[in-house]
Amino acid sequence: MPERVVAEVSLYYYLVVGITLGLYSLLSLSLNIITGYAGQPTLGHAAFFGIGAYTSALLTTRAGLNFWLALPLSFLTAALVGWVVGLASLRVKEDFLAITTMGINFVVVSFFLYSPYFGGALGLGNIPAPALFGFNFDKTAYFGLVAVVTITVVLFSRFLEKTWMGLAFRALRDDEEAALANGIKVQAFKLWAFVLGTGLAGLAGSLYAHHITFISAGDFGFPLSITVLAMAVFGGLGTVEGALAGALILGLAPEVFRFLADYRMLVYGGLLVVMMLFKPSGLLGRTELKINLFRRLPARRRG
């Protein structure tokens, strides 16, 4: 009997780690659309993950909506806010855009924290696990669901790379003014990148909420944004392989190196700076993060 309990605990553990890695992959892939494909730096990705999580949690607990309806609605809500933030990206660029998005992260977290409707500091609990035709999703089924969504987003990213929109994103990333001079509606494509990327982060947020069943504002803070950015940059911006590799390696690291788990923000932040200095395109990447502050560092050292 004790042996069986151990086996179940360990299976449960692996499923939870698997789901976490899937969620990290979704976040990293969605950030890759904005920062990798379209070259727009963002330091506030966790905000959209949170918006998705809160939307789904509220819709299922307060409005009594079904998970399968709440899931796409959290995509839409996050995408809508992402569109507004995208409007900001039309006015500010590079470092300033990074700082603006960072600010938005703090605003969104405070919003969750201080408005009673969102549960305030206590957060939202009793978020139901999804059910389908009377079958309640256990962790195995949930892992399957997250895996299916992740694979779909991988395929979608691949597809996006090949479309005219993917080509426009790359032109925008390579040289925004040249893209504009070539008659590309740069503004429209920036907005599309934000809408798609933040929407997918919202989708991941919904999956997170129904997995963890209890959410609070602190789950979606700036440290998570940095973690996700570190994953995408470490793996390499602009490629699906890079986004996945970063999410899997950095997502697994705290599980493998337990003793490091407490210092992981230090590790992720440090890794981000080290990558920018020595290998800006990451392990498998095609492009670099457009935050000049990091790039100026080595120049200053040389000088």
């Binding site: 005219w164 390579d174 008659g183």
Partner: protein
């Protein structure tokens, strides 16, 4: 300032005279604070750049500004971004560019950054030709090129102009810019100080002294 259909007009002037700003304003990359821009009699002062491309204005930016991480073919495809894949004008565009620059056809799968300076200039020009423009705006075509490549670039423009393309060129290399042009303007600190046919400018003592080296 006027540019007639089929003309080659060159604007010369020192660094900081406002040449690039002039051409970017015509393209819509800089907003005009005063005045009007008419194209075929239509006021385009407030049109966004993509609508100007649609009307038949193309721009070759200073320093070429090709997309370094995209292939030659993708760079050209982006030049005609507004055309769908099935549009026959897209195929015509590729044929036109590859005929003018066979070198680009040879390198169509190479990344932009792997091209030589002269080839990059061909690519920048080719990209501007993709949508089938009526007016080409060219900013400093000779910048950063070796003399042989400069000659080639000017020769390609001359060839295009001979086939009926209207050209507005902004250039530091005044000798070449005036040599090929029908007419020219001299810009000094944001003002047009002189205008005339290429021959008149070449004879003008002030131009000779300041821009043609005596």
């Amino acid at each position: 300032m006027r540019v007639e259909a089929g003309e080659w007009v060159s604007i010369i002037g020192a660094n900081g005279a406002g040449k690039t700003t002039t051409i970017k304003t015509i393209m819509g990359l800089v907003t005009a604070r005063r005045g009007k821009i008419l194209f075929n009699g239509r006021d385009i002062t407030n049109l966004p750049p993509w609508e100007r491309v649609e009307l038949g204005i193309s721009y070759v930016p200073e320093g070429r500004r090709i997309f370094p991480e995209l292939t030659v073919e993708e760079n050209l495809r982006l030049g005609a971004f507004r055309l769908t894949n099935r549009d026959p004008r897209l195929k015509e565009g590729f044929e036109r560019v590859y005929q003018l620059f066979p070198r680009l056809a040879e390198r169509r799968r190479q990344l932009g950054r792997t091209l030589s300076g002269g080839e990059q200039q061909m690519l920048a020009l080719g990209r501007a030709l993709m949508p089938g423009p009526r007016l080409l705006l060219i900013d400093e075509i000779s910048m950063g090129l070796m003399p042989l490549a400069v000659n080639q670039a000017f020769h390609s423009l001359w060839e295009l102009n001979r086939q009926g393309m209207t050209i507005l060129l902004v250039e530091q290399n005044a000798r070449k810019a005036i040599g090929y042009a029908t007419r020219g303007y001299v810009l000094e600190t944001g003002r047009l100080v002189l205008a005339g046919t290429a021959a008149e400018l070449a004879e003008n003592p002030r131009v000779r002294e300041a821009y043609l080296g005596g």
